[in-house]
Amino acid sequence: MKTETHTPNRQQGRNISTDFLADRAKFVRKETVRLSRIAGAGHYSSTFSAAELLVALYYAKLQIKPLEPDWPDRDRFVLSKGHAAIGLYPILADLGFYDAELLDQYTRFGSPFGDHPDMKKVTGVDFSSGSLGHGLSVGVGLALAARMQARTHRVYCMLGDGELAEGQIWEAAMSAAHFELGSLVVIVDRNGLCIDGTTEDVMSVEPLTDRFESFGWKTRRIDGHNFDQIIETLDALPPAGVGRPTVIIADTIKGRGVEMMEGALNWHVGNLEGEDYDVVMAELDAGLKPPTWEHPK
């Protein structure tokens, strides 16, 4: 079964208040906690680090038509870190791509919604993901197709920082610069942790800005939880067309928003039940507090 389009219940456009975006980021985090309980397991912390980035893209930036999901001139979004799909599904429902009640069947037998997104089952997902390291190559292909078809939309691709250890990422980075894919925008969710430890302990990815620059990319480095910085950076993107591709390295905190998860390795996959569930939901309801963890330097 594939999800069907649904009457949108949220505005989508450029001039949306930071308060509204913060409310939607809270919604993403709470839905992640709710849906994870249905599944009995969830990628909480990888989704929490990306919450503001996903919300800024979908509510403030992407040119999309939820009632016309196959609109050929729409901006494309590839969630290369597919394990954050649990945060994307509620956004797509909220924007009207499908009925939010479908999410109640998250991961249950026959559901369109798995831990990793399936473009053939979930309306609004531009490409399936799950195997890390592939998404940037998908973005290269989408951008080349746009060029062949003389379309001017952008292709956004969100990468995790752990998957930067995959060699295919750098094959794709090389080719994006070689083909001068100025319409391609990468956002790295630089949350600092992979499964076994910090990226710098497991397989170091820094100096990340220098690495992308040396591959021929334009680079920006921002606070990935700060809506003002995110929106300003997205608004300042160069025109989509022939030119250098852009990477936005967004420094984030894995598990951001739930104190016990911030910077904690043991919450990459977890399950909140009973009283823990209620406590975390209350913490999220109260809104973001100052972070309790910093990237090790």
């Binding site: 494309r76 053939k120 592939h134 062949m148 083909f179």
Partner: protein, 345 residues
Amino acid sequence: MSDTFEDDASQDHADFFTGVGSAHKTTEKGTPAKRMPAFILGEELADLADHDPRIAVMTADLASANRTVEFKDRHPERFFNFGIAEKNMVTAAAGMAASGQVPFAASFASFLGILCAEQIRTDCAYPNLPVRLVAHHSGISMGFYGTSHHSLEDLGMMRTIAGLTVVCATDAALLRSILRASMDHPGPIYIRLGRGRDPDVYDAPPSDFAFGKAIRLREGKDITLIATGAEVYPTLGAAEKLAAKGIQSRVLDMHTISPLDGDQIRAAAAETDAILTIEEHNITGGLGSAVAEVLVDCDRLPFARHGVPDEFAPIGPPAALYAHYRLDSDGITSRALELLSGKRK
């Protein structure tokens, strides 16, 4: 010496990387040599692209070897050389296909089918995208380049991928049929080619070509020889030699390995006295295994799989390797006689 690849006796393999045969080369530096007549990939795709804006072609630093350079010359805006980065190429092809293009990604079978197996499964087949994976110089056709450049496992890997059509081109004419038929096919296709100098089996592209429908090339009752790809030609030669001994062979060109033409296999089991499969592939997992999976539901009859045993091939020119593995017409003939005399292995 192989009757299939007689011109390989010296294995001057300039053509592997330039797409030209040494016999046609001139001595003057930079003078274009005449291309091998059978390697029509770029030319046919360029012809199709004249009328179909969906076609795009990509390769990984082998535009000359696979002649996609001829597509580049005629449709440069739809040609992309990805350099030696096959995984990126295959996944990017999937991205293109997701936006309405029909991309053909070409490289050596060893690097397309084997190196990129996961990209083919996850990015092309799982989303059922119309990517065409053109895997050339398959099997042991690269001879003394060695195991890194051989692909004796790709059919086994590819045919276990759900929704992936796996097809082998017998010769240039059948390749044209495959490329033309592919334009109306919604899902991904793995197209396995030889090295582009395969002898002609067909005078012209068969007009009734269809994926999953084997072509019956010869009629006989004593044994059915089921071959695929470059082994069809020597198999027809073997059928001639068997006929001289009074043994009449049915010959099937089983060009499509997945989905397999089970009807033709069941008919062969019911109407002929034995079945021998012939393939340029490890006999584990390829055509022979696929046919065996159908025969397990049929009445027992003498059956054997002929191909490369479960090992890596030695170093040698292609002709020597084909002779070593008895994949020439003499070898196939003797293998068929063994089967008919009761020797299964």
